[in-house]
């Protein structure tokens, strides 16, 4: 047993030297995650910033001018002049120069004075449905506020909804995306890199030499995987520091729990990488399998960018077997909600189960002779 440990230790040292020797890859592996978090943290947003509004008065009067001033002073809107023809709205939308149009039918001031119904139309460019409806809602809210100010005290019943946004009061998308990015970065370092490194040895035939050596398959796998584990851990810490320093992403839960979750997820990624390397023949095939089998699901089916609730039922079902989905729930739960182990035990259990299943499968595959 002692001898086995000595052998393992020297094997791990050999692997670490391999990685250290390839400076270029090492720098990429250390710097890329920080660059990604910074870039995507800044750029991946869904918040509505300014709204370009085409303001069409079919018959300008005092009331339309007043409403126009309100929009101008609001700060959220940029007004775009237009002639009353509806064709000019379509042209502005087609060229992507406007987001929403407000068309006011003639007689607004007159209608307000006499109490007759005044008509207007809010047209959104809904080719992007969410942005379109959100912007339309902002325009409607501004009109409602104006109407309320005009009406003074009404006799109607007012039920005021007091809305609280828990866990993310400013509704910033950074807080949503950054915890998800950790999952993506961990996937790249663990699954992709192990798959490549192992399949390279396989392709060159050096893995066969290792297999006929007195080392056990599990020793080979541990030796291959251990250095990447260290790398992944460094990456997690650096990404967390960047998220906290650069974006001020809140950190409400326990750091130890998050690190434990990250370590577990990294282990799942590593075992997936080993499994991929064990079941493919060439480096290229391993890489394609790793990209297709891990990167795409981790980005698309994990809830990192797109909410799982919005997907059709079959895809929601599939998302259950994507490890990243469970890790994203852990990282968001800990960082944003301050969730503890009692709330997250299921996620931990699922990840642990995946790790055990894939690792035993991978070791069995490797124990069999190659080809």
């Amino acid at each position: 047993m002692n001898q086995a440990l000595v052998a393992l230790r020297s094997f791990i040292w050999k692997e670490i030297r391999h990685i250290l020797r390839d400076r270029q890859t090492l720098v990429i592996l250390l710097a890329l995650p920080i660059a990604q978090v910074t870039l995507f943290g800044f750029a991946l947003r869904t918040d509505v910033r300014d709204i370009r509004l085409v303001y069409v008065e079919q018959q300008p009067d005092a009331a339309t001018a007043e409403l126009r001033t309100r929009f101008e002073r609001n700060g959220r809107f940029t007004l775009i002049p237009a002639n009353p023809a509806s064709g000019s709205i379509a042209a502005a939308f087609r060229a992507g120069k406007a987001d929403v149009a407000l068309v006011i039918a003639p007689g607004l001031a007159e209608g307000i004075r006499t109490g007759r119904v005044a008509q207007m139309q809010v047209i959104a460019d809904a080719s992007d449905p969410n942005t379109g409806s959100t912007m339309q809602a902002h325009v409607l809210a501004a009109i409602t506020a104006w109407q309320r100010d005009l009406g003074g005290r009404g006799s109607g019943v007012v039920i005021e909804p007091r809305i609280r946004m828990r866990f993310n009061p400013t509704l910033e998308s950074v807080n949503l995306f950054v915890p998800g990015l950790i999952a993506l970065i961990l996937t790249i370092v663990t699954a992709l890199m192990t798959a490549i490194s192992l399949s390279r040895e396989k392709e060159r035939g050096t893995l066969e030499i290792l297999l006929v050596s007195p080392l056990h398959p599990w020793q080979i796998i541990v030796g291959k995987v251990a250095p990447y584990m260290i790398l992944a851990f460094i990456n997690v810490v650096s990404v967390l520091v960047a998220a906290w320093l650069v974006f001020g992403v809140p950190f409400r839960g326990s750091l130890a729990l998050l690190l434990a979750g990250s370590t577990l997820y990294a282990l799942v990624g590593l075992s997936l990488g080993v499994l991929i390397a064990a079941s493919t023949r060439t480096q290229l095939a391993a890489m394609l399998a790793a990209l297709g089998g891990t990167m795409l699901p981790s980005t698309l089916l994990s809830g990192m960018i797109f909410p799982i609730n919005s997907m059709p039922a079959p895809l929601q079902l599939v998302s259950n077997i994507v490890p990243a989905r469970w890790f994203v729930e852990i990282s968001r739960g800990v960082m944003l909600k301050g969730a503890g182990f009692p709330e997250l035990w299921l996620q931990f259990a699922v990840l642990a189960g995946m790790f055990a299943a894939m690792m035993s499968l991978a070791i069995r595959k490797f124990s069999v002779r190659l080809d």
Binding site: A91, S127, G156, I159, P161, S173
Partner: protein, 382 residues
């Protein structure tokens, strides 16, 4: 010219012989289209609401009914206390807590003013924002309805006619959603996904194709022949360019049949833009193949570039939500221009003049990327 023809034949033969690649080229796009279009959606579906009703009145029950009746909300559970509701929000058992305080109905009857509390799980801020605007609208409507009920003299006198009350402005605001009246997310995503598919073939396949010859050593053999640089590059790129165009066609047909995505504008404009865009995409692939030595490196570089390229292109998140510097950066991203153009032409029916600036940008980026890549490519370097 004869040399070019022979080389082209060789390339086509090679591609045709590779069954895996052919399958990847034509089945993958359809699968990707189906999965991506369904997965990549920000659509706000039903929110699960947890009700803490401390009023227990008819009015409070009716309010909950209204929310459920709108189809946007479903009751996930009820509890008399806030503690259980908080737990549900924490463990994702519910998306929003609706708390109706004691005395809600009494306040409405007496002072005509009452409040309810809505606490959203705002981890995903955009979703919570949309859901909260739905809830506010339903609650506002319910209040208006109660006003009518509480004024029996006005309401029952002539329910069809709305009585004008001087000094009380009544605005009738109609809402219109152009180009996508049902707010269907597929329509928005599919044109962008088509672009992404073409990009994968154009860039990754090109890079891998050339690097493979480098790795196998056959590139050196080609380099010692009298074949010119231009001829070689043309022979390598032209087949891939044609495959990508073919793939686009498969994609457009699939988009129509599977998702009912319209093609409002001229189809020629789509192909013109694709032709220009592919010069940039293939140029990028060529550049990658020049700077790397192995297929592994090529795939890695291609993937890293594509990730930045795609995530910053406006495919998933709107360009106009990005900070200014990122918006400027996006201007030099040909993918961004092509996606914007596809959406404008397919959904809004934009014509040549509408998208002229985009076409110009595509042309310019193709020219710059391709000439940089060709300049980097030396026969001796490999």
């Amino acid at each position: 010219m004869r040399v070019l023809r022979v080389l082209l034949r060789k390339e086509f033969l090679q591609i045709r012989r590779d069954v895996v690649i052919l399958r990847m080229l034509f089945i993958m796009p359809v699968i990707q289209l189906i999965v991506l279009a369904n997965a990549a959606t920000f659509e706000v579906k039903q929110s699960r609401v947890w009700v803490v009703d401390q009023d227990h009145s008819e009015v409070s029950a009716a309010l909950v009914q209204r929310l459920v009746g709108s189809g946007r909300f479903a009751v996930a559970g009820r509890s008399p206390s806030h503690a259980e509701a908080d737990e549900a929000l924490m463990s994702r058992g519910a998306d929003v807590i609706l708390a109706i305080p004691d005395g809600f109905a009494r306040d409405i009857a007496r002072v005509r003013r009452a409040s309810v509390q809505l606490a959203f799980n705002a981890e995903d801020g955009a979703q919570a924002g949309v859901a909260s605007s739905y809830a506010s609208a339903v609650i506002g409507d319910y209040g208006a309805e109660l006003s009518a009920d509480l004024r029996p003299t006005l309401a029952s006198a002539d329910p069809g006619r709305k009585l004008p009350v001087p000094g009380q402005p009544r605005l009738e605001v109609q809402r219109r959603f152009w180009y996508n009246p049902t707010l269907d997310y597929h329509r928005y995503m599919v044109p962008g996904i088509l672009v992404q598919l073409v990009t994968i073939v154009g860039t990754i396949m090109t890079a891998l194709n050339i690097v493979r010859e480098k790795e196998a050593g056959t590139l050196e053999q080609l380099n010692v022949t009298p074949i010119g640089r231009a001829t070689f590059i043309t022979a390598k790129l032209l087949p891939l360019w044609m495959i990508a165009m073919l793939q686009l066609t498969v994609g457009i047909i699939a988009a129509r049949l599977l998702f009912g995505v319209p093609l409002e504008g001229p189809i020629l404009l789509v192909y013109l833009a694709a032709a220009l865009y592919l010069v940039a995409a293939l140029g990028l692939g060529l550049w990658i193949s020049v700077v790397v030595d192995t297929q592994q490196q090529a795939l890695f570089v291609a993937f890293a570039l594509m990730m930045v390229y795609i995530l910053m292109s406006g495919l998933f998140t709107p360009i106009r939500s990005m900070p200014d510097w990122a918006q400027w950066l996006a201007q030099i991203n040909p993918l961004m221009h092509f996606i914007a153009l596809m959406r404008a032409v397919m959904l809004k029916g934009a014509g040549f003049m509408d998208v002229l600036p985009r076409l110009g940008a595509l042309f310019a980026s193709g020219l710059v990327i391709m000439s940089l890549a060709v300049r980097q490519y030396h026969k001796g370097a490999a």
